[in-house]
Amino acid sequence: MKLVVAVVRTDRVNKVLEALFRADIRGLTITRVQGHGGELEKVETYRGTTVKMELSEKVRIEIGVSDHFVEPTVKAILGSARTGDVGDGKIFVLPVEKVWRIRTGEEDQAAVTPLFPAAEENGGER
């Protein structure tokens, strides 16, 4: 299993989510973060006070996936988060030691496997 951590632009988040869902990647967590990735500095002025904004609003997306899902996940993010300008963000892939799905107690591979097909225990609600 791997943990894919991506930091992307706030205005690309919806695109990224859409791409991930299209690629059948459904279990994820997002966090609003601030970061600095070498983008153009933003200069703002409030009355006489001029400031350089060194931190930009970003969104961090964390996705736990089984090994063979790493590539489609990364591809989906690369394709949807890119604008070509500095500040598009990063993707990190980290090893994961252990995973539990809290609801069932499933472990590891089973815990990060998406519920296919069509959420059997939800009575076909999906």
Binding site: D11, G38, T45
Partner: protein, 429 residues
């Protein structure tokens, strides 16, 4: 020969002028709440800056083009730079007061257009567009209806500006939305209002200011003002009621954005009719006006027309319905001059229709030409990157909701300096 000044009329018109002026900031909040947070200041500024530019334009030339004696199509230049606009009576109020009262109308009319072009227009292009539109579109149309122009002579009824303000602005909004094109995210991503309470606040303040807009259009503290005032309360009340019922019937829930929109539609619809129809007719006009605008808004969002804040559906349709229904419900018993269709004068409806059509065609065509002219001087749209970042930072160098985290104080910043150099273009893996 000039009639004397009337103290009561003057007092009311002083208040009414301030009320109408308040509508423009109110519009800023109504619109500002409906856009994404990264564009909130830009949208507010599109309204606020009109207080400056349109106000100056109006005093220097606009008032003359609208209200000085001239041809049936545009006023002359005899009042340019406020020549002869002094303390003497115009009607029963000082001429300066009449001029400035009318100025508040010019200010809000051009600001109304901004709702169709939010989140993408360059601010400098908008700044150039404002005075041109006031001079070449607003002033002539105001002259046609209120300055003794050809629509006035035809007998078109427009009490407070259904045609001059709302239909005029909406036709311009339609064209502006087309000329600028869609926002990049339009119909691709969900674009949600970032602050619905702002929108409700704006709608509430618009209603408050609208009492000055409609009742002030009686130009005095008189029975006609009282009728317009009453109708300005009743018609939006009916629209809001109808809108809420439509919402519940259609989706089971009464929405807040819908309520704010319904209030504005009702206000727009009663504007041309305010001093011409009975209070019961005002209720009918308000209720009827809800339907076309309600369904037009639902339909518009599935079209390619990115009239982002539905200026056409709210002000165009609301204004048209109001203008036509003025020709239906006008009642001599209440206005002393003219009957409408229901009271034996079907011809009035035809006159109203002609006035609406002429205003739409003129405004649409002129707005197209003006935007083309502006586009020769400066690009109309922000670039892709700035649209993504948001117009607050790119156009104004400010953010509506900044935390201040990561802000480094700059003591010797020069705008033309090296600030555009990226910190780390290469090397940063």
């Amino acid at each position: 020969m000039t009639p004397p000044l009337n103290a009561a009329d003057t007092a009311w018109m002083l208040v009414a002028t301030a009320l109408v002026l308040l509508m423009t900031p109110a519009l800023g909040f109504f619109y500002g709440g409906l856009v994404r947070g990264k564009n909130a200041l830009n949208v507010l500024m599109m309204s606020f800056v009109s207080l400056g530019i349109s106000g100056v334009t109006w005093a220097l030339l606009g008032y003359s083009l609208a209200f000085a004696p001239g041809t049936p199509f545009v006023g002359g230049l005899s009042r340019a730079f406020l020549a002869g606009v002094g303390l003497q009576a115009e009607g029963t109020i000082p001429h300066v007061l009449y001029m400035v009262y009318q100025g508040t109308f010019a200010i809000i009319t051009v600001a109304l257009i901004s709702g169709a072009i939010v989140e993408r227009m360059r601010f400098t292009a908008y700044l150039l567009f404002l005075p041109l539109w006031v001079l070449f579109v607003y002033s002539p149309v105001a002259h046609w209806v209120w300055g003794g122009g050809f629509l006035a002579k035809m007998g078109a009824l427009d009490f407070a500006g259904g045609t001059v303000v709302h239909i005029n602005a909406a036709a311009a909004a339609f064209v502006a939305a087309r000329v600028l094109g869609q926002r990049r995210d339009y119909a691709r991503l969900a674009i949600l209002p970032h602050n619905v309470p702002f929108t409700l606040l704006g709608a509430g303040l618009l209603w408050f200011g609208w009492f000055g807009f409609n009742a002030g259009s009686a130009n005095g503290a008189n029975a006609s003002a009282a009728l317009a005032f009453t109708n300005t309360l009743l018609a939006p009340a009916a629209t809001l009621t109808a809108w809420t019922i439509l919402d519940i019937y259609r989706s089971g829930r009464a929405t807040a954005v819908g309520a704010a929109t319904g209030i504005v539609v009702g206000l727009v619809a009663i504007t041309p009719a305010a001093g011409f129809v009975s209070p019961i007719s005002a209720l009918a006009i308000g209720a009827i006006a809800a339907f076309p605008s309600y369904f037009a808004i639902l339909w518009r969002s599935r079209t390619s027309l990115d009239d982002s804040l539905d200026v056409v559906a709210a002000h165009g349709l609301g204004g048209t319905v109001g203008a036509l229904l003025t020709g239906v419900f006008a009642e001599k018993a209440w206005n002393g001059t003219t009957n409408g269709l229901l009271f034996g004068n079907p011809q009035q409806l035809a006159i109203q229709a002609v006035a609406v059509l002429v205003a739409i065609l003129f405004s649409a065509f002129s707005t197209y030409v003006l935007l083309r002219v502006v586009s020769f001087a400066v690009r109309l749209r922000v670039n892709r990157r700035d649209e993504g970042t948001g117009l607050d930072v790119s156009q104004h160098g400010e953010e509506a909701y900044t935390t201040g985290e990561g802000a480094v104080l700059v003591l010797d910043y020069s705008p033309s300096g090296s600030s555009a150099a990226p910190l780390a273009e290469g090397g940063h893996a």
